[in-house]
């Protein structure tokens, strides 16, 4: 049971949250400019790394706000929680 620090509510049990999958996948600005393969890549293809991973989470049974989480998929250690639209810690911005 992960303990996730909601930026608005503080640390809460994982059962209050829902994971929205890999973060930082922007919807293409002009979908028509993409061929089927590129569109399918946006739609379906996700990383499944062993180790550091950035995911979107929503505090579904709390404030219902979305945010980003950097989590190690092996140790489950959460190394960062940061707002939507912001780059991962230590990567520009």
């Amino acid at each position: 049971m992960l303990l996730i620090a909601c930026p608005w509510c503080g640390p809460r049990d994982e059962t209050e949250f829902r994971c929205g999958g890999e973060a930082h996948i922007a919807r293409p600005k002009d979908p028509d400019a993409l061929d089927d393969a590129a569109w399918a890549d946006y739609l379906f293809m996700r990383r499944n790394p062993k180790g550091r991973h950035r995911e979107r989470w929503v505090h579904a049974a709390g404030c219902r706000r979305w945010f980003n989480v950097e989590r190690d998929t092996v140790s489950h250690v959460i190394t960062a929680v940061y707002p939507m639209g912001k780059p991962p810690p230590g990567e520009g911005g």
């Binding site: 303990l3 049990d13 979908p31 089927d36 739609l43 140790s75 939507m84």
Partner: protein, 999 residues
Amino acid sequence: MSQPFRGASGGRIERARQLSFTFDGRRYQGHAGDTLASALMANGVRIIARSQKYHRPRGILSAGAEEPNAVVQLGTGAGAEPNVRATEIELRDGLVAGSVNAWPSAAYDVGAVAGLLSPLLVAGFYYKTFMAPGGFWQSVYEPLIRRMAGLGRAPSGPDPDIYDHMHAHVDVLVAGGGPAGLAAAGAAARTGARVMLADEQTELGGSLLGGPRLIAGQPAPDWVAAMAGELAGCAEARILTRATVFGYYDHNWLGVLERRADRLGPSGTPGRSRERLWHVRAKQVVLATGAHERPLIFPGNDRPGVMLAGAAATYAHRYGVLAGRRAVIATNNDSAYGAALDLAAAGIQVLAIVDARWEAALKAHDTIQALGIERFAGAVIQGALGRRSVRGVRIVKLDGRGDAKEIACDLVLMSGGWSPAIHLFSQSGGRPAFDPGLGAFVPGVSHQAERSAGAAGGTMTLAGALGEGYAAGAKAAADAGFGDGRAPEAPHVDAEAGLGVAPLWPVPEPAGGSGQRGKAFVDFQADVTDADVRLAAREGFEAIEHMKRYTAAGLGTDQGKTGNVNAIALLSAALAKPIAAIGTTTFRPPYTPVAYGAMAGRNVGALLDPARVTPIHDWHASEGAVFEDVGQWKRPWYFPQGHEDMAGAVRRECLAVRNAVGVLDASTLGKIDIQGPDAGRFLDRVYTNLFSNLSLGRCRYGLMLKEDGMVMDDGVTTRLGPDHFLMTTTTGNAARVLDWLEEWLQTEWPELEVYCTSVTEQWATITIAGPKARDLLHDLAPDLALGKADFPFLAMREATVAGVPARVFRVSFTGEMSYEINVPASHGRGVWESVMAAGAAHGIAPFGTETMHVLRAEKGFIVVGHETDGTVTPLDLGMDWIVSKRKDFIGRRSLARADIIRPDRKQLVGLLPLDGQAVLPEGAQLVLEPRRAPPVPMIGHVTSSYWSATLGRGFALALVAGGRTRAGTVVYAPLESGIVAATITLPGFYDPDGHRLHD
């Protein structure tokens, strides 16, 4: 005194309180403070169970949670509990227990003939012996094995007891209340930290309860009582006894099972929960879970009367019970010498110590000599004699010199060294390390915020346990932000040497042995022998996880607590690889079994899932409505009158709507209030069609796709103001749609200023539908202009309806003229009753969801979840008319994918069975050539199918490959009852031009 093996004095039992209990139908006496195991032992009951595979008689091996043999069925009827360890069952008056794996009793077991089949039951027998001939598995082998391997009987009814869930946040959780745990909890609590100490036994003290140790010159129980008293005095400390820390999960979240009351038996308290499952989030954890003594592996080591040396000492000290009269002790370490002294003092005649080592610790050697105990050095037990109970041992020298010696005895005690109970450490993600000096796995590098202390960490002396406990408690508190981390000074205890373990893994074969020796068990519960492990190694199951699964070693309900290390060591020997290279299997929660009742807690019965009801629900119920579940909602399904059946009621309701007027409680429709300057632009992106150009007071049907182009939801959205919309969703998808809108707003389009609020429960929705609907609404809202031009189809008017301010939406799901009257929820019941009263003159009938479905299907209207299943696009549904070409929206690009525009995709069609009386079952597969040899290509399936009272025939909607080009084609549904032929039509059987809607 009917307890022949109860000592005259001693033990922590209450001798004045006699308790009566039955085992396998026989009545016995015990005392308060006994376990079922100690009481059975006091009564001289040796055979407690039969082993799983061979049905060998089995007795009590241990005195704790690690017990593999003495597993019993507790209680009867609905309160029965299978597979409970007798060593953990607190004796109470009237307790009823029985063996789980024997018939009619453990002592006289018919299944023991299975032992004769033992050549068939070697490692991997599931995979080999019963492979052929085909069909025999189900008819013969499986029932046979199931009967032989009975693992207790399920309760006969729902659990009569209640269970609670508790939540705790602590600074330091200490698992285990022995010397190390008590010291840790005490040291942590002194800092003011919030401390929880959980121990699985009925009283604190752990190993101190099983021996005559002195702490600071006083009997150890005095120190235990003092520490317990100190903890009880700390406001921030909580002691849980009878509480097993069973699971260590991510982020220092642990599960603790606290046993509070018996079943609702004589001592049960009504209303009191039987068990509590604690969810504990701990900043720091101290694991002081002790160690388990290991058996030695020799033929007959499973015979009743062969047990662990430390356990026998515990039975003597804690329960005043003698495990036997004349004992032989076999060991490979020094701890057995202490046990020998304890047992001799308790009145057991210790005949000999068989020590695999040549040199034992000098002091221990001296003391046993003084007691006249014979010592065999460099010797092992070649085999235990006796079948139903041990009656002697054969002792041989390891070097083969001299003759084997037989000693008659009724008790054989084993000490194969001690394995730290690293289960919780392993569950926490830490990797165990092999300690060759200890011959056991110990905690390696921590993975979470925990530390081990005492025997759990491999420190086997009392002084070491106390010192580590105090240090661990102080450090844990400091890491949690309390105190300076300095350990309190530990009280004095007499020095001891270590165990001096000489690992004794391979079972020595007798010199010149024939190989015809008896079975030597590694895992008692799974009935795995040393030969099984070697066989697995020979057959290539060399990885420990493979060996485990092939032999089943460690797969019992005890998870191999006593057997795992021996099994690993045997594999290591068989492969000539070091144990450290073999590694250990992963321990998984729970440490000991947890009842489903405890996991469910109060979330059972009516509390399993919330039931949502509309403000009009009680009226429906009082009118005899039959309800159906739609998500969590209870919706009226149909309203039977008199002795009407469902078909009759639906037929009548349908005709009332088509010919007069019907009324439906549509309050469950999802309603989302959407406001903000960008609301229109936002709706353009989430719906396939345009909404930003919707006029004030007008409604529009919208279709929502997922980004893959598949239909997700539909509903009508109305513009209430320039920046204000009211969206409706399907009943079951309301929460999902709101989440969906929020996700896009927050994660993809934060620049849009839009606010979404669920108002589903704020409004009651009363839908009147039928040719008389306008007349009825006029009666209810005489001031509202209802002419075709004043209040057209797909418009909304605010009005006073039945004296209540309302929003009236002229929309239709039935194909009839229809008004959805929305009033504040608190007025829902009152307005409904006004509608019914005014409707009487118009022949009104309340109708339920079934009639609604029939009527909409007659119109060819889809229901998300019926006609769609996550693989259906708007093009498949023939709804291209709603897909805008002028703007982007979620899912639009996917509609251009090559696979989506294939002409042979399944498309929505209507079906009219050639036999007008036939009603196809929903889900029926459709084929073109029903009589050709299989495989017969399936070209589609029925999505909705009803009897139409209006059409006087059965009809259906279906998804059929290339269906729109097949109109007029006859397809077939091969059913169990015969083949039904049906003609493909366009979907929509009633008023196809919509005159009735627009009138």
